[in-house]
C-alpha cells in the first residue's frame, strides 16, 4: 500500500531525530487512519465530509434530478455545508450519513461510490408516526374527497431550509428544527401560499403582527403552534388542536391558566377582508326574506370587530380632516396678521 510505504519513509526520517519514536508512531497512525479511504463503515461521517465539502474532490458537484411525482427537473448540489448539517434536526451526535443513505454502507470508496443512490425513505424506519398522522389529517381527507392533489411531504418540507446550493436552489437535505426562528418564519409563508386569507388575517392579530416584524421565536405562535404539524384537523373536529376539547390545552401552552372565555379569542379577524363586509351587506339586503343569515352574522364576534374598525376609520377621517383644516386656517390667519402688522410698521417708518 502506498500509505505503508510513506509511513516507513517518514518514520525513518523521524526516528533519526532521537527518542521521539513512540510519539512519531502515534501521530502517523492517527494521520493514516483519518486519511485512509478504504471502506465506508457505519458510524463515521468523516470520509463523507472529506469529499462532500470540497467541489474539486467530487466527480460531479451538481446533478440534475427528475422528481418522480411531478416530473420537475431540479439541479441539486452534492456539496454539504457541515455547519448547517450539524445545526439541523439530523445533525446530532448519533446521526450518520449511512443511516439515511443505507445503500452506501460498506461501499468501497477507493474508486468513489456508485453515482446514483436510492431515494431516501424517511417513513419506513423513522418517521412512520407523522406520516400516519398526516394521512388522517384534513389536508389528505378533504382533498381526496374533492379530487384534488394532496400535498406530499416534500410540498412542505422541501425548500423550507436556509442552506443554498451553488445554483441558488434550496436543498431539502438540511432539516431545520421546529424551534429555529428562521424556519418558523418560513413555515408561515409556506402555509400562506395556499391559505392566503388566513395569513392576512393572522397578520392583523396580536400574534401575527409581531411575526410580521420578523420575530418568530417560540414565544410568538406561528401557524403550526396552534393548528398542529401533521395532524391538522378542521376546527369543528373535536380532536383538532383548536377544537372544543383541546383548545384550552393549546392556548394554555403559552397562556397559563387559560380559561373558557379566553379561548373564544378570534385569531383571524376579518376587519380588513372586503368579502366579509360584502357578506354583511347582502345579509342586510335580504334581511326580510332570510333573517337567519343576519342573526347569525350579528351574533358573530367578527361583526363587532368590523364595526369597531369602521367606527375608528370614521373617527380618524373626521378628526384629521376637521382639525387639519382648522390648523391650516389658524396658520394662515396668523401669517396674514403678521404681514399686516409689518405693513403698518413700514408705513409708520415712512
Amino acid at each position: 500500500m502506498v500509505y505503508k510505504l510513506k509511513e516507513s519513509l517518514v518514520l525513518r526520517v523521524l526516528s533519526g531525530l532521537g527518542d521521539f519514536k513512540w510519539f512519531a508512531h502515534f501521530i502517523i497512525s492517527v494521520v493514516v487512519v483519518s486519511l485512509s479511504p478504504a471502506v465506508l463503515t457505519a458510524g463515521d461521517n468523516g470520509p463523507c465530509i472529506e469529499c462532500h465539502t470540497k467541489p474539486d474532490k467530487l466527480k460531479t458537484a451538481e446533478k440534475a434530478k427528475i422528481d418522480p411525482v411531478t416530473g420537475e427537473i431540479r439541479v441539486v448540489s452534492m456539496l454539504i455545508d457541515e455547519g448547517t448539517f450539524k445545526a439541523s434536526a439530523h445533525g446530532g451526535e448519533d446521526f450518520f450519513c449511512t443511516d439515511c443513505h443505507q445503500d452506501l454502507e460498506g461501499a468501497d470508496l477507493s474508486e468513489g461510490h456508485k453515482p446514483n443512490l436510492k431515494p431516501v425513505d424517511c417513513i419506513t424506519f423513522c418517521h412512520d408516526d407523522p406520516a400516519e398522522d398526516y394521512l388522517q389529517s384534513s389536508h389528505v381527507k378533504l382533498m381526496k374527497e374533492n379530487n384534488r392533489d394532496v400535498p406530499t411531504c416534500k410540498d412542505c418540507h422541501a425548500g423550507l431550509t436556509y442552506h443554498y446550493t451553488p445554483m441558488g436552489e434550496k436543498s431539502p437535505r438540511d432539516v431545520p428544527r421546529g424551534t429555529d426562528p428562521v424556519h418558523r418564519r418560513l413555515t408561515i409563508e409556506s402555509c400562506g401560499t395556499c391559505h392566503q386569507e388566513y395569513l392576512s388575517s393572522y397578520r392583523n392579530n396580536a400574534h401575527g403582527q409581531v411575526a410580521s416584524l420578523g420575530y418568530t421565536t417560540i414565544d410568538i405562535p406561528v401557524c403550526f403552534d396552534c393548528h398542529g404539524k401533521h395532524k391538522i384537523l378542521n376546527s369543528e373536529d373535536p380532536e383538532s388542536k383548536v377544537g372544543k376539547e383541546r383548545i384550552l390545552e393549546t392556548c394554555g401552552n403559552c397562556h397559563a391558566n387559560a380559561n373558557a372565555s379566553f379561548v373564544k379569542h378570534i385569531e383571524h379577524p376579518q376587519i380588513k377582508n372586503i368579502k366579509y363586509y360584502k357578506k354583511l351587506l347582502t345579509a342586510l339586503k335580504n334581511a326580510r326574506s332570510n333573517p337567519e343569515d343576519l342573526k347569525n352574522l350579528i351574533k358573530s364576534p367578527q361583526t363587532i370587530l368590523c364595526l369597531v374598525f369602521v367606527a375608528y376609520m370614521g373617527i380618524l377621517a373626521f378628526t384629521f380632516s376637521s382639525f387639519g383644516v382648522h390648523s391650516l386656517l389658524c396658520w394662515f390667519a396668523t401669517v396674514r396678521d403678521e404681514y399686516k402688522r409689518k405693513g403698518h410698521a413700514d408705513e409708520d417708518q415712512h
Binding site: S261, F262, H265, P301, Y312, L316, S327
Partner: protein, 283 residues
C-alpha cells in the same frame, strides 16, 4: 439702541411642566415602540422595532412607558383632588380657569372662524383657548381608553375571566382591545404630531417651540397677543402682579430648545412615515 427687557408672567406651574415632561417621555417611548406593530409591513417599522431591541425588549420599554403615563395621570388626579376636596379651591369645573367646555367657548369658536375668514379680529381668549381644552379632554379620554385596552392586552387571561363564556362568544375582549388600542394610538400620535404641534409649537410666531410649557414663563407681548381676555381680567382684578416672574435665563432657554427641538423633529418624522404609509396603501 436699547433692548427692551419685557416683563414675564408665570403661565405653567412646576407641577404642570413636570407632568408635560413625563407625558413627552412616555408618549414618545410608547409611540416609537408601538407604532412599528401598527405599520408592520413597512421596512421603517422593522428598523424602528429593532432599534428598540425588537421582541421582547421593545414590549418591555412599551410597558415601562405605560407605567410612566399612569404615574403622570396619578399625579394629575392627586393634584385635582387636593385642590378641589382638601383646599376647597373653586373654578376647576366652571369659569375662566376651568378646562371644561363652557358656553363661552362656542362664542370663541365663532369669533375664531370669523378671524380665519378675515371678517373679524382675533377673539380675546382667556386662560384656556377652546382647542387647548379639546386637546386636554382628548388626552384624558385617550389615556383612559389606551390604559384600559392596553391592560386588557397586557393581562388577557385575567380580564377574560370576568366575562361569562356565553358573552365571550360574541364579545371577544382582547381582539376588540387590540383594534381600539391600535387605531386610538394612530389617532393620538397623528393628532399630537400634527394638530398639537402646529397649534402650539410650530405657529409662525412660536417656531420652533413654545417655550412656555418648559420654562413656565411667557412675555407680556405674547400674553397680550395670545390671551388678551385673561390679561385684562387679571389686570382688572389686580392679580397681574402675583404672576410676574423674572425672565428665563439664556441657559434654560437653550436647554429647552436642546431637548424640545429633536423631540419635535422625531415626531414630525414619525408622522411622515405614517402618512407615507397611508399614501402607499391608497395607491
Amino acid at each position: 439702541m436699547q433692548m427692551k427687557i419685557s416683563t414675564n408672567y408665570l403661565r405653567f406651574s412646576l407641577l404642570h411642566r413636570f407632568c408635560h415632561f413625563l407625558i413627552i417621555i412616555s408618549f414618545f417611548g410608547l409611540v416609537l415602540t408601538g407604532m412599528p406593530l401598527a405599520f408592520r409591513n413597512y421596512d421603517w417599522a422593522r428598523w424602528l422595532y429593532e432599534l428598540f431591541g425588537g421582541y421582547p425588549t421593545a414590549g418591555f420599554i412599551h410597558r415601562i412607558c405605560a407605567l410612566i403615563t399612569f404615574f403622570a395621570a396619578f399625579i394629575h388626579f392627586i393634584f385635582l383632588f387636593y385642590n378641589v376636596s382638601v383646599q376647597k379651591k373653586k373654578g376647576f369645573f366652571w369659569g375662566p380657569n376651568s378646562l371644561l367646555i363652557q358656553p363661552r367657548d362656542v362664542f370663541d369658536i365663532i369669533g375664531d372662524l370669523k378671524w380665519f375668514l378675515g371678517i373679524g379680529k382675533r377673539p380675546d381668549f382667556d386662560r384656556w383657548i377652546y382647542w387647548e381644552k379639546f386637546e386636554y379632554l382628548s388626552l384624558m379620554w385617550g389615556t383612559l381608553v389606551m390604559a384600559l385596552t392596553g391592560l386588557i392586552l397586557w393581562f388577557p387571561v385575567q380580564f377574560t375571566k370576568i366575562i361569562p363564556v356565553s358573552v365571550a362568544g360574541i364579545i371577544d375582549l382582547p381582539s376588540i382591545a387590540l383594534i381600539i388600542h391600535r387605531y386610538e394610538a394612530i389617532l393620538a400620535a397623528g393628532f399630537i404630531f400634527t394638530i398639537h404641534f402646529f397649534h402650539t409649537h410650530l405657529l409662525p410666531e412660536k417656531m420652533p417651540v413654545d417655550e412656555a410649557i418648559f420654562t413656565g414663563k411667557i412675555t407680556e407681548e405674547e400674553f397680550k397677543h395670545e390671551r388678551l381676555g385673561q390679561f385684562k381680567r387679571l389686570e382688572n382684578q389686580r392679580l397681574l402682579e402675583n404672576y410676574k416672574v423674572a425672565p428665563p435665563s439664556l441657559f434654560v432657554s437653550f436647554i429647552t430648545r436642546l431637548f424640545a427641538v429633536p423631540i419635535l423633529i422625531t415626531g414630525l418624522i414619525m408622522v411622515g412615515f405614517m402618512f407615507s404609509a397611508l399614501i402607499v396603501w391608497a395607491i
